[in-house]
């Protein structure tokens, strides 16, 4: 990628990357600050857009006792920020056979009994970069409300920050993935029209139409394309 004249001269701030001080332009995300400082990252980078949870980061700010947690690709650096990347969370994932488990609380609790250790300290919620109500999801799991767990955790990107900070040692994101699949496979209503259509295709209902289209020339296809009926909004 070429270098360009930057139109606006950036002011510089100090960030402490795993203990070491670096001067970086203000306004950069933590991820870009790391790269500016010379790190070529292998771990701790993924989509760079806030979807994959690869760049989980914990940091502190001067004069503030709190430990903050967020995504490096979505967080702007602040002067004096003291940070560490957490590119991996140790959390055992317990395998299961979707076809053999029930969509109920007992499935969540039998695979992840640590859930019952929750002391409602809310640390998980405070650590979530997606601002999900994580503790409420744990509570819903304890109550066996699988649908609620699926709803509350849909936007979870499995970054692992809640899991690594939880004093009760609950592996949250593994529970959420299980709950969501249970919901999607068992509790959500089935799409009947979809099953019918799959059946129709298997029976060859559209074969003749497609055969015909395959034989048309580009010009004939173009004419058909122009004459398409567009479904209104």
């Amino acid at each position: 990628m070429d270098e360009v004249q930057v139109k606006v001269k950036p002011e510089m701030v100090t960030v402490y990357i795993m203990g070491q001080a670096y001067q970086v332009p203000a306004g950069l995300t933590i991820l870009k600050a790391l790269e500016y400082a010379g790190f070529r990252l292998v771990r701790g980078v993924g989509c760079r857009g806030g979807f994959c949870g690869a760049c989980a980061t914990v940091y502190r700010l001067p004069g503030d006792y709190r430990l903050y947690a967020d995504l490096a690709c979505q967080t702007t650096v602040k002067d004096g920020m003291y940070l560490a990347l957490l590119p991996s969370t140790p959390a055992e994932r317990r395998p299961y056979d979707l076809k053999k488990v029930k969509p109920a609380g007992e499935t969540l609790l039998s695979l992840y009994p640590e859930l019952a250790r929750c002391v409602a300290c809310n640390t998980c919620t405070k650590s979530c970069p997606q601002k999900l109500e994580v503790m409420d999801a744990v509570q819903a799991a304890l109550r066996g409300d699988v649908a609620k767990v699926a709803e509350l955790t849909f936007d979870c990107i499995s970054c692992g920050l809640c899991t690594i900070r939880c004093p009760a040692e609950i592996p949250h994101y593994h529970v959420w993935q299980l709950a969501r699949r249970l919901y999607g496979a068992y509790l959500a209503p089935k799409a009947e029209h979809l099953h019918r259509r799959v059946q129709e295709i298997a029976e060859g209902k559209f074969a003749a139409d497609l055969d015909r289209l395959m034989r048309l020339s580009k010009e004939e296809l173009r004419e058909l394309y122009k004459a398409r009926e567009i479904e209104p909004e």
Partner: protein
């Protein structure tokens, strides 16, 4: 026939109710029966918003501050409503929440818990945890309760199984730890014949049911034998775990005595739930 109970004046402010995890899952019938019974008695009940688990499963094994965070968070939820009383049905929730309420009566403990929970307003104290049994006797009273009964359970011999958590430690006990009588008084108000048996305040074994079911079986055997010898036709409890143990851990040789929730008996007598057929045939009263 003259069956109109005294008209119950509907109460204006709802009772705030803490369900606890079991009542939403394995013990749904306890909640359903009790809420309809309370409605019949003229009480509107609102569930505590965003309540969290009291933590009883592990908190009872730990001696640290953290286990009080969950209960206190529930007290803050109540405080936000301006509520000073929290109704519980589950005996274990009652016990866990009460012990935390006691714990934070000490100002230093309260200060430390509040300091940790920097995401909530400070708990100022003052929420009282009330068990269903206390509510029925203190708020309604035996006389009014009897008058509200539509289908007296006459002829039915019911034993109250207290277990541990309603009575120990004594600081949170709903009655005398060795000679309690609150549940018997309620049973009598419902028209039934309370059966006292020596093992009614002995522990069923609780969570040992997971790791040492043999111990639980032994305990349950003693409890059921004791209840059977005293002539109980059914047992009443307010703890989902006790109910599980008494039903699922009965050893061979011990009598099979059905176990119901306190709220269910209440619901039968108030006419909002059908009394199970096996017990109905013992009724000697007019309303059979």
């Amino acid at each position: 026939m003259a069956n109109q109970p005294n008209a119950i004046t509907p109460h204006s402010s709802p009772i705030t109710y803490f369900p606890g995890c079991a009542l939403k899952d394995q013990a749904k019938e306890y909640e359903k029966a009790t809420l309809s019974a309370l409605a019949k008695l003229g009480y509107a009940v609102r569930e505590l918003p965003r309540w969290n688990c009291c933590g009883t499963v592990y908190s009872q094994t730990q001696d640290d501050l953290m286990r009080h965070v969950g209960p206190v968070r529930n007290f803050i939820r109540a405080q936000e409503l301006g509520e000073t009383r929290l109704l519980t049905l589950c005996a274990m929730c009652y016990n866990t929440l009460s012990r935390s309420a006691l714990f934070v009566q000490n100002p230093e403990n309260l200060r430390r818990i509040n300091a940790f929970m920097d995401d909530e307003e400070d708990y100022r104290g003052g929420v009282r945890v009330v068990h269903l049994a206390q509510f029925l006797l203190e708020e309604i009273g035996e006389e009014k309760l009897s008058q509200a009964v539509v289908k007296p359970l006459s002829g039915l011999r019911l034993g109250a199984y207290y277990g541990c958590t309603l009575l120990r430690p004594k600081e949170v006990a709903v009655d005398h730890p060795d000679r309690p009588e609150v549940l018997e008084r309620i049973i009598a108000s419902l028209g039934a014949e309370p059966v006292i048996f020596p093992e009614r305040t002995e522990c069923c074994g609780a969570y040992l049911t997971v790791t040492r079911p043999d111990i639980v079986r032994e305990r349950v055997g003693e409890i059921l034998l004791s209840a059977g010898r005293a002539g109980a036709q059914a047992l009443l409890t307010s703890c989902p775990l006790c109910k599980f143990n008494l039903e699922e851990r009965r050893p061979l040789g011990a009598p099979k005595i059905p176990v119901f929730y306190l709220g269910e008996a209440l619901a039968w007598a108030l006419g909002v739930k059908e009394i199970p057929a096996e017990l109905a045939k013992s009724l000697t009263g007019v309303m059979r």
